[in-house]
Symmetry: C2
Subunit: 269 residues, 2 copies
């Protein structure tokens, strides 16, 4: 329980006012990571996870066991520019929010970094308080692998029809039952989600998909991108999209594209 | 000496005509690499080089010792999207140019790849035949390191004045003696070069410098970028640029910025 939490909304968090004395403080922070070397965000028994390295680093700084909540788990190999986490600390220390990121980063490996620590009102939870999330998925087109992009983008061997993909993306915006676009191994019962934005942009030999929504099912972004690529290559027609949604059949949608092209960009609360 | 080289300019290198029988063929190819794990392009005694891995892979394919010429050496840690190399092979085999890149890439590590093999006229040399080269230098602005960009861009802790840097860049375009912007340890006597393009672009929190010219002295791009950053941070004024050029004094220009932000993008012949 919060012992002496002032009304955060009235604080001006400039340098002069960044030092505060709390007990059971709720912290929120943003983190960026290269997912390549991790078995996903969530702590695992069988391999390194982003959650484990974050909790270990925070534990050293706060000298206690820290358990973080994240906006969502990212899968093995998925990257994040703007994953958001929260945790509660029982502390009677004074913390300088501006120095905290630097201190925590000193205990993190090079492929994970934290920034933008904030103190939140009691009850804030990075998982349950999410309003919307944005992802991008990145591809490059080329017959030959590109060493500078290979860990960060999916290689496409030929150029898909971007116009068709853009048309199909528009049909996926809105509130739908996304069962067809979800990994069948999921414990979620309600598969209705709202996609507020789904853009496809071609820039030189690179294609970037940008998608935002109020929530995403397991593998949903990667299956949506795989489905659009099938549209781009003529395996699925734009007119089929509605039927695929209505079928609620994972078999009807496209493949799950590789994790390395996916980035969790932004989470809003 | 070339035994049976047809007039390349008259050939249409589509699939049907890509199989040819030559002796002492001059090959040109483009390569891309992540410079992180290499002591630069040039073969070294004390560490891995891009040249060594390329020559080893080509040597396996052509079953002979291959010595490649490159458009220029890139320094330790510098990346390339479009390095161009050439080499001469004594061969009586038939080579399919379209399959050659794939064969060579099979023997290359993941951080180096080749593409776009061409057969050139006798006398072509990727080093001596260069007409112009283009580089980019990439930075991001942030107080906290960015794991997804750290190996590929220079971190700037605060935003420089981009407008001032753009003004200074314009003054560096043209034919000048670039002694002030060259590593003093160089065997080049003539330090006059022509810079044809020098752009500075801000996109979100990323700044990209693009420079093209007929040739570049040792560390020249990195010193030019370092000098512009000094302008952006007010350490050097735009009006000083002409005096720095005229001084022919390396001490007057800015620092040599880190190699990891530099990319050789394109070489023209």
């Amino acid at each position: 329980m919060v012992a002496c939490l002032p009304d955060c909304s009235k604080l001006n968090w400039d340098v002069g006012e960044s030092l505060w004395y709390y007990i059971n403080m709720v912290f929120k922070f943003t983190c960026e990571y290269n997912g390549k070397n991790y078995q996903g965000f969530q702590r695992q028994n069988n391999g390194p996870s982003v959650q484990a390295v974050l909790e270990d680093a925070l534990g050293r700084i706060f000298s206690q066991k820290i358990v973080i909540a994240a906006s969502g788990r990212t899968d093995t190999g998925v990257h994040a520019m703007g994953q958001v986490c929260s945790f509660v600390v029982d502390t009677d220390m004074v913390w300088d929010l501006y120095k905290l990121a630097g201190s925590v980063n000193a205990f993190l490996p090079d492929d994970v970094a934290v920034r933008d620590f904030e103190i939140m009102e009691d009850g804030f939870n990075a998982r349950f308080s999410v309003k919307s999330k944005s992802y991008i998925y990145r591809c490059y087109v080329g017959q030959v692998q590109s060493p500078l992009r290979d860990g960060f983008m999916l290689q496409l061997y030929k150029m898909p029809e971007v116009g068709f993909m853009q048309d199909a993306a528009k049909l996926l915006v809105g509130t739908h039952d996304f069962t067809s676009f979800s990994n069948v191994n999921t414990d979620k019962v309600d598969k209705v989600r709202t996609v507020t934005e789904f853009d496809v942009k071609l820039d030189g030999d690179e294609i970037t998909f940008k998608i935002s929504g109020n929530g995403f099912l397991r593998n949903m972004v990667r299956i949506l991108v795989g489905t659009l690529l099938d549209v781009g290559y003529g395996k699925i027609s734009v007119d089929d999209i509605k039927a695929i949604i209505d079928s609620k059949d994972r078999e009807k949608a496209g493949q799950t594209v590789a994790a390395k092209g996916l980035y969790l960009m932004k989470v809003e609360y």
